[in-house]
Every structure is written in structure tokens, then in C-alpha cells.
Amino acid sequence: MSRPPAPHDPRAAGLPDGEALLSVRHLDTTFHTPRGPLHAVRDVSFDVRPGEVLGIVGESGSGKSVTLRSILRLLKPPTEITGEVRWKGLDLLTASRRRMLEVTGAEISVIFQEPMTALNPVLTVGEQILESLRAHEGLRGAAARDRATELLDLVGIPSPRERLGAYPHEFSGGMRQRAMIAIALASTPQLLLADEPTTALDVTIQDQILKLLLRLREQLGMSVILVTHDLGVVAQTCDRVAVMYAGRLVETAPVRAVFREPKHAYTLGLRLSLPSGGAHRQPLQPIPGAPPDLQDLPPGCPFAPRCSYVTDACRAEEPRRQPVAPQHTSACIHSDRLPAFEEVGS
């Protein structure tokens, strides 16, 4: 497999060096399975800028969640993670686990899809917030309790002081996600990693949680990486988008460009397969076939077998991601043949 020019090539993420809060370069994650190695993430490079919401979007098996978990080495062995994840000069992948936790424990927080499994069921919500406040902020006693109350209030939990004594099972799904966000915020992180945070929630509650995340981003000036499969969530929440397919990052762009002028045939296919008003009860335009087996990838571009723009060149060699417009990179050699959207639709 060919590798992009050089490590730390700013073009790989489409922005000048030094601007990034988090820099991921050539991230490779391999699971060792009974069927042999499974290359879940391949050569993924991107940057997260201060204060931005970066969306990582893709279908199941695209590697979006594995990418997120690789950043904090949250995957159980036997898993091999190579490449570089640079956070303020420290490479999180090669640092000792202790050193990594010292740095990231306070500055990077994570929230997951299912808060019931991520929260500790035998500790009250208050105890879980206090634990984080003690470890990262050195707060104890009344000061810690005041701060915990403040945090629950910040995430929109009513009568926060009383709710400190509640257990996770006493909360509804939306409230649990709010509680998990409060715990994540206790260490005043600069980066929040959110893995499908609203996928298990109803649409009116999803709307509340997404608006909450955006409000917190403004108030606290933190950056967010939001992993999701939902293009609507991306459109409403993210500043920039990274599209993944079969373990590779295939396109990065500002959110508007992804929806108006997608430069990868897969991104375009995803957009077209969604109904967007207009042709009521007319056939949709699906992407034919199914995503490839990661242990049996086709030669060349992994999307080639399902692509309507495919040519022999696509099958010959796996295309590299390259700049196609300002702040816009794509790994599609036919990016200039793809149509733009006049109207985005609903």
C-alpha cells in the first residue's frame, strides 16, 4: 500500500501545521481475529482545531468508532495500533499508559452511545461526578458538591442538588446522556469525543442533546469529535466532516461543501440514497451491493465495486486523499466529474 508523502504533511488534513489541537497521522488499527488480522482502520490522518465540531461519518464497519477509540487506546488487546496521535506535543500512542492518562484524563473526555452501560450502576450520579472532580480538579467536600450541582444544572437536569443522589437507573435515557455529559465535563476537557451520543435516543430528545452539545461548545470553548452514521445529525451539528469507508478516510470538508459539492463518489451516493422531498413514492437511488468485507477488500479503491463512476484506474491502485478545493480533500480520482447540489432539500 502506498503512503501519503511524509508524516506531518499539513496537506493531509488541509490546514497549516500548528493550528491543530489534536493531530492524527497514519493511524492503523488491526484486530487479531481467529480468521486472521482485520484491518479496521487504515492510514487515517486528520486534525481537530480548537473549538470546532468535527464529524466522523460512515456506515457500520467503516471504522469510525474504532478510530475514536484508537485515539485514547480504549481497545482491548490483541489489537495493534500504529501511527501517531499528537496531543500538545505528546504522542498518545507511544507514551506510557500512565503518562497518557495523566494528560488525557483531564483534557480529553469521552461519551458513548449507551449511557447505561458507560455509567457505573452502583454509584450515584453525584458520586461519579465527585470522583472526577477529585481526581482532575482536586476539589473536595462542599466545594466539590457545589461544582457537581453546577454541572448537572449546566447540562439541563432539573433540581440538580437533589438529583446528585440519584442512581443512573432512576434516569430516563435522555437524562442519563445528560448525566454522562456532566461527568465528562467535570474535568473541564478541551476535547470531547462523542461516539453516536444520540443514536439510542428519540428524535425530540436527540434534538435537545445536540443543541446542548453545541451550547456547551460555545460556553466552554472545547472541541468535539462526533462519530455518527446520521447525515442529518452531521448537517445540524458539525463544522467539518470526515467521511469514512471500509476503514479509510475518503473525504474531509467543511460541512456545507460535503452536502453541496461532495467530492467523493461514496459521499455523493450516500446523499443520493436519502429521500429529500420532491419525488414522492418514486424509486430512491440506492448504492448497489453492500460494504466490502474488511478481510477481503477489492483491489484499488474499496468503493469501486459499488461505484457508478468507476473506471479501470480505480481498480488499478488505491487512490490517495488529495486536496480538491480549499479545505477539501478527497480520495476519489473522479472528483471533478461529480455533480453539485443546487438545493439540499429537507
Partner: protein, 350 residues
């Protein structure tokens, strides 16, 4: 029969045009009391899944049923195919009371009204090949003489777009989208008139959803099927439904022709639901939440209008009086006190 023009009135019509007529459907599920609750002699609790659902489904139409968790949409679907027995209320299918069916008539009903489930991974027997799954459906209802079963199996595979060699293969050898096709083929083996699809494509990836939706649209026009499309994905429901019913906490709160309902929702809950669904246009962002508050538990449904604790325009009357699902002055059908019900037939004639 081609797709009928969408009806906006919930009033009575000739029964020959109707597939389903549902009235006053109530279903509660008792909740087991914990030991602690029993010792404290607390009252037994129940999940009030359906609280008087009224609905008409026309023959040949696609009726979308939308709502959030606890709204009762799946319970309603299961009552229609008699997987659940409602506590009270009537379900008429082609004019006949479904709950009175016995013996052969009931068997015929089970054949004519088929349900397709959300999860293609758990609704197919993992130890049966696709051929066996289809053969079972064909023989249990004696749809074909034994000699003709193989030919019919191949026909069904062709109908749902699966390769002919699929018969020998097991469900796990297929992708999610293909498994959903197997489930559809099994339902079609019984030559049903009506399909009840509960979250048909929710478990599938976006790029594959469109394939299954196209199959459903094509089959419906070829086989003149009536389709109940129960789903939480508003974009899909808008695309394929002739009419849409919006449910909230066990009641239908608004029903109407799809475009009218989506372009100009009348019930405050419908408005909240539609504006909460994230738009694909990054330039149409909203700052404020579509609706505040939590979904109440179906074990403790608020009195009066079930939406009043979250409703931005709730009045005193909403707290005590349940609004009826009736046609309003503008012809739209919803259950909100803000607009007065349409005058009766006599009053209009006068």
C-alpha cells in the same frame, strides 16, 4: 387497484374501500411488582401502550405510522396482526371484526395480513436454509401442491431480487439488506393483501435502506398491497406514505395526507416532532430546542391531553380534557383543543 387519492377525513366512508377500521383500541401491559412494592402494598402498575386508538387504512394505500418510543406504534402493529390481544376496542378488516375470527377464517386472516419485522437477524431461524424457510411458509398454508413448491421458491427469490442459488444458503451467509429481503419473500409466499412493516429498514445502513424501500414500492404496485409502514425515520415515511398518522403516548394525535401533514402540521406535537428531526441542509440550523421536557413514561400518562406538560401552547382545558381526534374547521384531522371540531353534517347542510 391503483393508489387511491389520500383521504383527509376520518369520518365514515363506504367500508368496501377500507382495509382496516380501528376504533377505541386499548392495550395495557401489567408490570410485575417488586417484592418491596408488594410488601408496601403498593398498587399494581401497568404500561398503557394504547389508549383508545382510532385509525382507518384504505385498501392499496401506504399508511405511515410515526412517533417516539412509548407512543404505541409497535403495539398497534402487533395488535393488528393479532400478536397481542387488545383489552378493548374493535379492529375490522375488510368490514369483518378481526377479534371474532376463529378456525379457518382466522388462519386465512393470518395469511392475508403479514408482518415483517425490524431485525432480520432474529426473525429468521438461523438453523434453516432460505429454501426451508420459504418451503415452510408455502406448505403450512398449502399455498402450492408439493410439486410446485420449488418453482414458487425460485419465483419468490426472483421477486425480491435474491440470486437463485440462495435456497441452499443459511441466513447468516447474507448481509442485513439481503436478510430483510428473505423476510419479505417469506411474507410474500403467503400471497398477502396487507403488509405490516415494523421499522423495516431501521437496522440497515443508509446505503442499503434505499434498496429495500425501492423493493417495497415496486412490490406494492405489482401486487396491489396495502402497507402499514411503522417507523421513526420521518424522511422515509414522508417519501413512501400516502397518508401519515402521528402517535403520542398511545393515541393518534394527527392523521392526514403526507404532504399536507409535513408542510403544515396542525398538532403541536407533530410540529415539535418534525422540527426536531435534523434537516440535511446545514444552512437551516436552529438554535433552540424543538420541544422541552422528557417523554412521560407510558406508566404515568398525564391527564387531559397527553402532550400538555411539554406543549408550548397548552391551556387550562388541556390539563383535564382529552381532545378528540376529529376533523377540524380546515378539514384537517387532529386532536388539539386549539381548533374547534368541524360542525356536524346537519349544521353544514343548513
Amino acid at each position: 387497484m391503483s393508489a387511491r387519492s389520500p383521504r383527509t377525513s376520518a369520518g365514515s366512508a363506504g367500508t368496501d374501500g377500507l382495509a382496516f377500521e380501528v376504533d377505541g383500541l386499548v392495550k395495557t401491559f401489567p408490570v410485575e411488582r417488586t417484592l418491596f412494592e408488594r410488601l408496601r402494598r403498593e398498587e399494581a402498575r401497568a404500561v398503557h401502550a394504547l389508549n383508545g386508538v382510532a385509525l382507518r387504512v384504505e385498501r392499496g394505500e401506504t399508511l405511515g405510522i410515526v412517533g417516539e418510543s412509548g407512543c404505541g406504534k409497535s403495539t398497534l402493529a402487533r395488535c393488528l396482526v393479532r400478536l397481542h390481544e387488545p383489552d378493548t376496542g374493535t379492529i375490522r378488516y375488510h368490514g369483518i371484526d378481526v377479534r371474532s375470527l376463529r378456525g379457518d377464517a382466522l388462519r386465512q386472516y393470518h395469511r392475508k395480513v403479514q408482518m415483517i419485522f425490524q431485525d432480520p437477524y432474529s426473525s429468521l431461524n438461523p438453523r434453516m436454509s432460505v429454501g426451508q424457510i420459504l418451503r415452510e411458509a408455502l406448505t403450512v398454508h398449502a399455498m402450492r401442491p408439493p410439486k410446485a413448491v420449488f418453482a414458487r421458491q425460485s419465483e419468490l427469490l426472483d421477486l425480491v431480487g435474491l440470486p437463485v442459488d440462495s435456497l441452499e444458503r443459511m441466513p447468516h451467509e447474507f448481509s442485513g439488506g439481503q436478510r430483510q429481503r428473505i423476510g419479505i419473500a417469506r411474507a410474500l409466499a403467503l400471497e398477502p393483501e396487507t403488509l405490516v412493516a415494523d421499522e423495516l429498514v431501521s437496522a440497515l445502513d443508509v446505503s442499503v435502506q434505499a434498496q429495500v424501500i425501492n423493493l417495497l414500492l415496486e412490490l406494492q404496485s405489482r401486487l396491489h398491497l396495502t402497507v402499514l409502514f411503522v417507523a421513526h425515520d420521518l424522511r422515509l415515511v414522508r417519501h413512501i406514505s400516502h397518508r401519515v398518522a402521528v402517535m403520542y403516548l398511545g393515541r393518534v394525535v394527527e392523521v392526514g395526507a403526507t404532504e399536507a401533514l409535513f408542510k403544515d402540521p396542525r398538532h403541536p406535537y407533530t410540529r415539535a416532532l418534525l422540527s426536531a428531526a435534523p434537516s440535511l441542509d446545514p444552512e437551516r440550523k436552529t438554535e433552540s430546542e424543538a420541544v422541552k421536557g422528557e417523554l412521560p413514561s407510558p406508566m404515568r400518562i398525564p391527564p387531559g391531553c397527553p402532550f400538555h406538560p411539554r406543549c408550548p401552547v397548552a391551556m387550562e382545558r388541556c390539563r383535564s380534557e382529552v381532545p378528540a381526534l376529529l376533523p377540524r374547521a380546515d378539514g384537517r384531522v387532529h386532536a388539539c383543543h386549539l381548533e374547534e371540531p368541524q360542525p356536524t353534517e346537519d349544521a353544514r347542510a343548513a
